[in-house]
């Protein structure tokens, strides 16, 4: 059975789906990703679907599940490279991929993740430097 490769780039795991996946392969990817996130402690996942001809409800659900699982493991997921024909079909199908963030390509996806990290960091700094309530 084919396995979708997962690449580590800094604090991000990059998955590029180039094949027409059997359902089992998609489920295996879900498992593999969860393991890698924990093993590497990465905080970002980018799934590149520019190689996918179609996204049916199974793939859609798998992507949503991956995003949810990743979030629980403290990693944000961005799906990139959706083809126009696929987007148009999803609209017609009424599938909205809730909870999944998207970007046009890997570069924009990484920028999105970086912005999030920066915002998170800013918040942490704010909290840390806020004056304590009971200090004179």
């Amino acid at each position: 059975m084919d396995r979708v490769p997962i690449l580590k780039i800094g604090d991000i795991l990059l998955v590029s789906i180039q094949i027409d996946m059997e359902d089992q392969v998609a489920l295996q990817l879900q498992e593999d990703l969860a393991e890698r996130i924990v093993a590497t402690g990465c905080h970002g996942v980018i799934i590149d679907i520019s190689g996918l001809d179609i996204v049916d409800s199974f793939v859609g659900r798998t992507l949503a599940t991956i995003a949810s699982i990743s979030r629980v493991l403290d990693a944000e997921t961005v799906v990139v490279g959706m083809r126009p024909a696929v987007a148009i079909t999803l609209v017609e199908l009424g599938l909205s991929l809730p909870g999944i963030r998207t970007a046009l390509n890997v570069e924009l996806g990484m920028a999105l993740l970086a912005r999030d990290q920066a915002e998170e960091f800013d918040e942490l700094v704010e909290e840390a430097t806020a004056p304590a309530v009971d200090e004179p």
Partner: protein, 274 residues
């Protein structure tokens, strides 16, 4: 009166035996009608191919055009039609090029034989069938050409422009029917991918009226763009259109709408932190 298998092989033999005389007479007749719009060499080549195809079909036992051995002949006839359609010849001129085989064949037949006459009529019927098929193929090819041209025209009239780094704009002009809306939608989405632009401004200043269908198309485009990771802003909404939208109860939800293209651009630049 249809061709019998015996007559078919006889004519096939004639087509082979008198190749040169037939091809020559055939070419001459056709050349007359085409009045030099096709080079003699090209015409000779077309006629030679057709003669071979007729010969092969008849030798294979074809008694009518839909018969399996006539498959190659049908293919040749279709090619003749599309070629002539592209070059601007009329359907009649194209069919005449096939009809001319009959007169050419008459030239090589022994005119005194009575049996010959009956066979000739049957052969004539076969050629008629071929010529009519050519006529039909021609019409089909022409319709295809017109459809292609219509598509090209559609593409030219719906430009997608890059306004700024990461921002594209689609100025919609004129009435938006279903077909056109689809094309615009597909081109906009493709441009987003090609340019890597996370923002698109759909300007409808030039759209005279917006009905539910048009609004649906625009909405679908925006949702699709969002799925892909880009945001759309709609600009150029005139007072009348705003009233129509509200009256029709069309909900643009959280899609940003601005009065002018400039406002939309300003909004986008601010949003992307520039």
């Amino acid at each position: 009166m249809a061709l019998g298998p015996e007559e078919a092989s006889r004519f096939a033999a004639l087509l082979e035996e008198h190749q040169e005389a037939l091809a020559g007479a055939w070419t001459d007749r056709v050349a007359q009608g085409l009045r030099g719009r096709l080079s003699r060499a090209e015409l000779q080549r077309q006629i030679a191919d057709l003669r071979k195809a007729f010969s092969a079909a008849l030798a294979g036992g074809a008694v009518d055009l839909n018969h399996e051995p006539a498959t190659e002949l049908r293919a040749q006839l279709s090619e003749l039609s599309s070629g002539r359609a592209r070059l601007g010849f009329s359907a009649t001129e194209t069919a005449l090029s096939v009809f001319a085989l009959k007169a050419a064949m008459l030239g090589v037949l022994d005119g005194n034989d009575a049996a010959n006459l009956r066979d000739y009529v049957a052969f004539s019927g076969f050629v008629d069938e071929a010529a009519l098929f050519t006529f039909d193929s021609y019409v089909h090819a022409r319709e295809g050409l017109i459809a292609d041209q219509a598509e090209q025209l559609l593409e030219l009239s719906t430009p997608v422009v890059k306004l700024w780094e990461g921002v594209v704009a689609v100025p919609l002009v004129g009435t938006l029917d279903s077909a056109r809306a689809q094309v615009v939608m597909e081109r906009l989405l493709q441009t987003l991918v090609d340019t890597g632009s996370p923002y698109a401004i759909i300007d409808i200043t030039g759209v005279p009226a917006v009905d539910t269908q048009v609004a649906q198309h625009i909405l679908k485009t925006v949702v699709a763009a969002r799925l892909m990771g880009a945001d759309c802003i709609i600009s150029g909404i005139r007072p009348q259109i705003a009233q129509t939208i509200v009256a029709l109860g069309i909900e643009f939800g959280d899609i940003a709408t601005k009065a002018s293209l400039a406002d939309a651009l300003r909004y986008v630049l601010k949003k992307s932190g520039r």
